[in-house]
Symmetry: C3
Subunit: 261 residues, 3 copies
C-alpha cells in the first residue's frame, strides 16, 4: 500500500509535541507524504480543511496548543478530514487525563492510538495499568476492542504486539522491533503514518488501511534492526528512516504479519 501513499502524496497536518516535530516530518517525507506543522489559531482551521489528515498529539500540550487542537479538530470533522488522536501519557498526571477527555467532547477522532497504559487510562481502567503495559497478545486485542466500543471509534493499541479494532473487526499486527521503544517519537510518527495510509487507501476503510500502515511500519523497524544491531540505537534511527524511504508495496506486504483472530 505504500506505493499508494507515494502516489497520493497526502498532506498531513500535524499538531504534535515539540520533541518529535523533526522526526515526524522526516518520517512522513520518507513514506511519501507531505507534512505541514502549524498550531496558529489564525490558520489551523483552513489548514485542517485543506489537509488529507490531521494528527493531534498531546505530548507537550500548552493552553494555546489545546485551543489549536480544538479548532483544527472541529474543522477537520466538519470537512471530513480524517483525524488521529495520540493521547501521549494520558493518565500520567491528572491534568492530562482531564484535558484529553475534554478534547474528546469537542473532536471526534477516526483513530485513537496509544500504548496499553494510555488506552486503559482513557477508559478508566487505571488500576490495571501495570498489567496492561506488560501486556500479552490477548490483552492488546481485548483492550483495543473494548476501548473501541466504549469510545465509539477505531482504537489502536501498540506494544509488543499491536492490535486495532473498530469494535467489530479486530486485527493483531505481529511486526515491529523492540528498539522502536528506544528512539523517541516512533509512536508519535506512527500516528502520522497511519493517517497517510488512511488518506491513501480510502477504498479499504479505516481499520484495514491502518493495519496495513502498522504492519509496514513494523517491517521497516525489523529491517532497520538487521542493519543497526551491531552499532546501536543512533544508527537504528537512521536505518529506520532509510527503510521507510526505500520500502515498496510488494516487499512491505509480503513481510506484513496481520492476523484476524
Amino acid at each position: 500500500m505504500i506505493d499508494d501513499v507515494r502516489k497520493k502524496n497526502p498532506l498531513i497536518h500535524c499538531i504534535t509535541n515539540e520533541v518529535v516535530t523533526n522526526f515526524t516530518a522526516n518520517g512522513l517525507l520518507a513514506v511519501g507524504a507531505a507534512p505541514v506543522m502549524t498550531g496558529n489559531h489564525e490558520e489551523v482551521e483552513e489548514m485542517a480543511q485543506i489537509a488529507d489528515g490531521l494528527l493531534l498529539n498531546t505530548g507537550t500540550l500548552t493552553p494555546y496548543q489545546y485551543e489549536a487542537m480544538r479548532l483544527a479538530g472541529r474543522a477537520a470533522n466538519e470537512s471530513g478530514t480524517p483525524v488521529v488522536l495520540d493521547p501521549v501519557a494520558v493518565g500520567a498526571t491528572s491534568y492530562r487525563t482531564r484535558v484529553v477527555k475534554d478534547l474528546l467532547q469537542e473532536v471526534t477522532p477516526d483513530v485513537i492510538r496509544g500504548n496499553g497504559g494510555e488506552i486503559a487510562a482513557l477508559i478508566g481502567m487505571h488500576s490495571q495499568m501495570h498489567g496492561v503495559e506488560g501486556q500479552s497478545d490477548q490483552a492488546a486485542e481485548t483492550l483495543a476492542k473494548e476501548a473501541a466500543k466504549v469510545l465509539g471509534t477505531t482504537v489502536c493499541v501498540t506494544g509488543e504486539v499491536d492490535a486495532i479494532s473498530d469494535g467489530t473487526r479486530t486485527y493483531q499486527i505481529k511486526n515491529g522491533h523492540e528498539w522502536l521503544a528506544r528512539v523517541v517519537g516512533t509512536g508519535c510518527l506512527l500516528g502520522a503514518v497511519i493517517l497517510a495510509y488512511i488518506a491513501s487507501g480510502q477504498e479499504k476503510g479505516i481499520v484495514q488501511a491502518s493495519a496495513a500502515g502498522l504492519a509496514q511500519y513494523g517491517v521497516a523497524s525489523e529491517e532497520a534492526f538487521a542493519r543497526a544491531k551491531e552499532d546501536g540505537v543512533g544508527t537504528f534511527q537512521q536505518r529506520f528512516l532509510d527503510a521507510l524511504s526505500f520500502m515498496n508495496s510488494t516487499d512491505g506486504e509480503r513481510k506484513s504479519h496481520i492476523v484476524e483472530p
Copy 2:
C-alpha cells in the same frame, strides 16, 4: 569561501520554525558558524544587534513569535545586521500571506529565500503557482529578477535550478540534489547558511556571497547523495552534515557551478 566562514565563525541569530531548530543549529556548526536561537521579546533586540546575521523563518509562526521577528528585524535593520527572510508556505493559507506582507512593512530583509511557489505568492502571481513549482531554469531566473524588482531586495528562488538576483545581477546555481527535498529543513538551513556566507564575505557583496553559499550547499548535497544512495534518506541527512563539516574552499569552489546568463 567556506574557509572564510570557519575563520569568521559568525554568530547567526535564528528565529525559526520549531521543526528545524536542531538541524539548523547543527548545519550552522558544520559550516563553521555559531548558532543562537531565541525569540524572547526581552532579549531579541540585543541579540540581533550582537549577531552577524538574523534569520526570520515563518514556518510555525505564532503571535508571540511574530512580535519577536518584528522587534529583532527592526533592531537588525538599525544596527546593520544582515537579515534573511524565509517566508515558508506563504500563499498556503490566507493568514500566512497577510502576515508575511505585514512583516515586510516593518522589516527590510537583505535576502528573501523561497521556492518558486512562495516567491510567486509574495508578488501576487497566485494563478501561476503550479507552473512555477515545476519550473524551468528560465522561470526561476525570471522570477528571481522580477521579484527582486518588485520587492526591492535580493531574492533567491530555489528549486531544480536555483537563481538569485538583486534586480540587476542575476545568477543561476546548478548544484544540488533532489534528495534535499526529502529531508525536512534543508531549505530552512540554507537561509541560515546564506547569512553565514554574507557575514563572512562582505567584500564580495550580498548577491555573490549568497551565490557562493548556494553553490557550496549544493555541492555538499551531491557528495552526500554519492555516499547515501544505496542506503536511503536517513543516511543522506547524516552524510549531508558530514559533507558540510569537511568541505573546504578549494574543493567547494572547484565543484561550484554558477552561471551568469
Copy 3:
C-alpha cells in the same frame, strides 16, 4: 555506574530549550533513563514530584517557560527531587543574566552545569570571560570550586577539561572529545545525564555520581570520534548515541579518567 542507570530507569523531567528536546530525549533513552518533557503550568508540579530528576535549561526561555521552571523547581525542592540547572548563555544578554539570578532566588539546584564563561558570568566574573573560555585545567578546577562556594551548591564547569566541585571536594574529568562542541545540545544532554546518574547512585552522593556521569559521557564521545573521524560530524552525532546505548559499567569505568587534585 551506567548499569545502575539502566536498572533504575529514572524518570527525568526536562524543561529545556526547543533546539535540543529530541536529542536530549534520545540521549536519555540511550543511557537507560526515561525522559518526560512538559512545561505546562497545570502539570509541572505534579510531574516534578513524580520524577527522579528535574532539568532546568534556559536556552530558549520564554515568559511562560520561566514560570514553569519556577513552579517545577519549587515542587522538586519540596519533594526532594534532584534539580540540575543549565544556565545556557547566561551573560550573553542582560536579560539572561537577570532571569537566571531571579530563578536562583526561587529554586535551589543540586548541580549547576555550564561552560567556563557561563559559570564566570553567574558569579560576576564578567571581565574574565574570554580568559575563562580558553581555560586551562587549573582555571576550570579553580572556577568550579570558587563558584560552588559563592553559589552554595555543586558546580560543574565543562570545557577541554571538566571540573566539578561542591566547594569541599573537587574532581577533574579528563575524558571527552572536542567534536562534542560541534554537535548542538551535547552540553544540554549532559545536564540530563548527570541527573540520571545522581538518581541512580544516591549512595555515592551528588559530586561522585555526577563525576562518574561526566566521565562516562566523555568516554562515549571518544568512542564515537574513533568511529566517525573519517566521516564528519553528522556521523559523530549518530555514533555518540550508539556509544551511549552500548556502554556498560565495566568498560565505562575502566576508561574513565577522574582526578582528585
